[in-house]
Structure formats: structure tokens, C-alpha cells
């Protein structure tokens, strides 16, 4: 009797129509699609740089100094007669490489440490003191000191940006772990007898994954900006390598006579950061399992 009875009571239909998959929602979100497309475009540009803008981007050609943008030099030339278009195209390699490597390393470490820290108090206390210390101190200054130590190179930039960006990432992951840890589903899982390893894997990791992904895109954008800023002030990759930030270091002297030297690399930089930020924003909205975000 009871089964039939409860059937009758629960007779209402299962509420919502099947929720659209992440991919479906992603495709329907113009911001997400646009920012993703932009990033893919930059990535392709980086990968196929030698095909898109053949030639050595560092090659100086003093005869054509300060040529304005035109048919031969799309983005004009700089004070040394280097092709700005080539610089922008090839510069994306450094930028994206640094961004990607820094993001992967710092988010990877932050995830591991954040999970540990969220669950083991001893680890947490030590780690957080250290993180507080790092955060109590402007990253760019730390990176400057590191650059002085390690010398100007891509690897230096990657190392120092990773050191700088791991703290905020770790905080985000740890914060999420602490929130998730208190979630009732964890207590429920423990009450059910789900082993700790499985709780990590099936409950905590998926729950913190979304914020980690979102954070990753913001870390990526911070790394891109950081590389540019370090190179700009002369403690990033050295002047003999090419990056957008680097290109601006010298270019700032010529903004009034050849604004294109400043505008194009800066624009490329800004578009990359913009795309990453927009991607992060839309991921944040899309990855919310409740889909109930107002904004």
C-alpha cells in the first residue's frame, strides 16, 4: 500500500526540463564564445607566428625607421626599423607561453597545497603565514628582486610570477575548500561512510574545480599583465627577446612621433587580458551549478 501511496503523493513531474549541458550553455553565451574565440585567435597567432609574419622580429632596419602603418608594414616600424606587426605577432608567443606556464604551475601547486591546507590544520597554519608574508608585499617588487638575482630571461619571469601568483590562487582554493568542507554534503557523505579519499575526489575536488578554473583564467590574465609590466620596467625578459611589454619599454619614448609603436603592442596586450577576464567572468557564471546567478 505504501508504495502506491507515496507514488501518488509524489506524482508531480520531475521539475525542470533537462538542464542544458555546460557546452550548450557556453555556446549560448556570446561573451564566453567571443572571448574564447579571441583567445584561440591569439593562440593560433602564437603557434603560426613564423607563417603569419615571417622573418626575424628583432631584425633592425634603420633605413625604414618610423614608417607609419601601411601596406608594407601593417603596424608600421619602430625606432630601429623593426616591423611592429612582426613584433606583435611574435610577441604573443612569449606572452602566452609565460601566461600558460605560470597558470598551470601556480594553479596546480595552489590546488594541491590548497586541498591539503583546507584539511590539515598544521599545514594550513604554516602555509598561511607564508602566504600572508608574500601577500603583504607587492609582487612586482619581489619579481624585481628575483629578476636581479636570476637575470633577465623568460624562465626568470615565469619563476617570479609563479611565486607571486601562487599566493592569491592558494587563498582562493583554500577558501573554497574551507567553504566546501563545511558543506552539509560532506557531513552527509561522512555519515554515509564514504572514505576520505573518495570525499576528496568526488565531493571536494569537483566543487572547488569551478572556482579553480575561474581563478585560472584570472591568474592567466594576471600573468600576462605581470610579464608585460616586468618587461616594461626592464626586469622581465631581456631586451634581446621579444614581448609586448618589452616592445613598449622603448616605444614609450616615441609615442608622440610614432604612436603606432605604442598602440599596437598595447592593444594586443589589452585584448588578451580582456579576453581572459571575460572568459573568467563567463566561466564563473556558467560553472555555477545552481544557475541562479542574478548577474
Amino acid at each position: 500500500m505504501t508504495a502506491a501511496d507515496t507514488q501518488a503523493e509524489a506524482r508531480e513531474a520531475i521539475r525542470a526540463p533537462r538542464a542544458p549541458s555546460f557546452l550548450q550553455r557556453f555556446v549560448r553565451n556570446p561573451t564566453a564564445v567571443l572571448s574564447f574565440a579571441l583567445l584561440v585567435a591569439f593562440a593560433l597567432m602564437a603557434i603560426f607566428a613564423p607563417l603569419i609574419a615571417p622573418g626575424d622580429p628583432m631584425r633592425v632596419n634603420p633605413v625604414v625607421r618610423f614608417t607609419p602603418p601601411g601596406a608594407e608594414y601593417f603596424f608600421g616600424t619602430d625606432n630601429l626599423g623593426r616591423d611592429v606587426f612582426r613584433i606583435v605577432v611574435h610577441g604573443s608567443r612569449t606572452t602566452l607561453l609565460v601566461g600558460l606556464v605560470v597558470t598551470v604551475i601556480s594553479m596546480g601547486l595552489a590546488t594541491i597545497l590548497g586541498l591539503l591546507s583546507g584539511f590539515y590544520r598544521a599545514v594550513d597554519v604554516i602555509l598561511m603565514r607564508f602566504v600572508d608574508g608574500l601577500m603583504a608585499f607587492p609582487g612586482i617588487v619581489l619579481a624585481t628582486a628575483a629578476a636581479g638575482f636570476l637575470g633577465p630571461a623568460i624562465s626568470t619571469v615565469i619563476i617570479s610570477l609563479t611565486i607571486v601568483l601562487i599566493s592569491p590562487s592558494l587563498r582562493v582554493v583554500r577558501g573554497q575548500v574551507l567553504v566546501v568542507r563545511e558543506a552539509q554534503m560532506i557531513e552527509a557523505a561522512r555519515a554515509t561512510g564514504v572514505p576520505t579519499g573518495r570525499i576528496f575526489r568526488r565531493y571536494i575536488l569537483p566543487a572547488v574545480m569551478s572556482p579553480i578554473l575561474v581563478q585560472a583564467s584570472f591568474i592567466f590574465s594576471a600573468a600576462v599583465l605581470g610579464e608585460a609590466a616586468l618587461s616594461f620596467i626592464g626586469v622581465g625578459i631581456g631586451p634581446t627577446d621579444i614581448s609586448w611589454g618589452n616592445a613598449l619599454t622603448e616605444a614609450r619614448n616615441y609615442i608622440s612621433q610614432a604612436p603606432w609603436i605604442v598602440i599596437f603592442p598595447g592593444l594586443a596586450l589589452m585584448l588578451t587580458i580582456l579576453a581572459l577576464n571575460l572568459l573568467g567572468d563567463s566561466l564563473r557564471d556558467l560553472l555555477d551549478p545552481r544557475l541562479a546567478r542574478r548577474r
Binding site: T6, I14, A19, Q184, R190, T192, G193, P195, R290
Partner: protein
Amino acid sequence: MSAPALLETKGLTKSFGNVKAVRDVDLSIPRGSTFGLVGESGSGKSTVARLVLRLIEPTSGEIRFGETDLRALKGDKLRRQRRKMQMIFQDPFGSLNLRMTVGETLTEPQSVHGLGRNDAERRARGEALLAEVGLPAAAMDRFPHEFSGGQRQRIAIARALATEPELIVADEPVSALDVSVQAQILNLMRDMQAEHGTTMLFISHDLRVVQYMCDQIAVMYLGEIMERGPRHRIYEMPQHPYTQALLSSVPGSPKEDGKRAKLKGEIPSAHSVPSGCAFRTRCPHAFDRCKVEVPVMHQLGEGQEAACHLLDR
């Protein structure tokens, strides 16, 4: 009580820092019965629920589950013990993993406890559980957010039943639900209990719900049990002033002298539990002795007990 107790606690105490959330709680829940724990906010009833399930570590006291000394269990042994004792939470939304399908939610307890020979078998059992709680098999591949509150609580009940536990602890299982849905879930839980013979510790602030559900009832106030006994004794002849006040405060109960309120003042904070009888600050009958002496339980027959100095007179 002739039936042997499935769950027994003695002197169960839990302090958080210097706050004693639960003090000297003795419980004895007979096998197959529903035991109600009722109290207002801050009474420690939810803490008791977590203590008896060993989700939090008691400060002192004993917990026996059948023949097992629960406090002696650790690690994997404790985890395996959990097959026999499950919990239903107040908020079905929070207690379900939003990233797991209903199917995964229902097969997980089976697989972690090695029930069922293979995935297909566990899935079949999951579908049977769903049918039992009144949900179609199609629900297996859905996610929790696709269900209404009542349906989610059904899923939570199905999950609790998945390991065929001997004890289910239900912590305010219907207080988040609308009245009409609440009745569905109460009926469902009563049916389940009748069908499976499960022992149940039922925690609620709602006296009417507890009355409907429980055979034995304990009334808690500020971490202590004030009165306990069989349902009819508690509801028909409450002996403790707090129980009396509680019952007369329920809306719809007859008003005497045109007033509902039996009690003056507010519930003290758990940080500053009054000396002597915890209830004395609000008790209409409090006298000097209540201030200095903690009252002991008085046996009042048929298993009814109350801790009040008035009963000495």
C-alpha cells in the same frame, strides 16, 4: 521497556571551547522504535545527533550501538560501522552532492560498503529505492537541482535506506518543507520505518511533528534533557514546567487566561548557562533551590522521567 536498546548513551557531553553544548545526556533507544528529541534552538539536539553518529567527537560519555562500543571505533572500522547507521538532514539541497546524479548518489553508499555484486545490481537497487520513495526510475540520471524540495528529501531518504541501516538519525527532516509536502515526507518516513523495522532518532523543534512520529520523546533545553518518556505521558501529563510551557505555546493549543505565553524572557545563550537548574531563569515556579542545585531525574512511572525540584515536593 522490554525491547533491547539499539542505541544507548551515558553521560554524553560535548564542549566547544568553553561552551557546553550538550551535558550528561542519557538516551536509550529501543530497537525498532522512533525516538523523538525535541527542543528549541540552542538546546543541543542536533549536536546529540552528530555525537551518536560519531560525526563529532564527544568530550565525554559513552555511546553503545547494539553490542558495539562506538567510542572505541576508529578509522576504517568506524566507517564500516556507518553502514548500519545513516542520517537524513534538514536541508536536502545542501546534503546532496549537486554534481552527482541521483543514480550516483544512490549507488555510492552501496559501493563504498561493498553492497551489491556489480554496478548493474546497485543501479537496480537504486531504482527500487526510488520507486519506494515515490520517484520514477527516470530520476536516476538527473541532478538534484532538477527536483523540488520534497522530491529531494525523498532522494535523501532513499540514500539513507540504501545500506539497509539499523538506525536512521533524522535531523529536522521536514522543517524546510511546505506544510503539504511535509505531510508527504512524514508519512513516507513512517511507512519506511514500519516496513524496514528501522530504529529512528527523530529530531525536531515542532512538537506536533514529534508527537506524530515518535514513540519515545525527550525534551531538551540548553544541552540537557529536562523530561523524557513515552509519547502519551509527555503530551498528556507533562511534569516538567518547561514541557508544559512548550506544549501550551504551540499555536492552536487552548489558551488559559487569554495568554499563550507561559514563559517569560529569552533563552539564555549557551555561553552563560544558568547555575543550578538550567531552566530556572524562565521557570514560573523557580525557587531558591533551583539556583544552587542541579535537579536529578525523577522516575514518574511508565518510563517517564523529569528533572525538576518541584517533583520532590
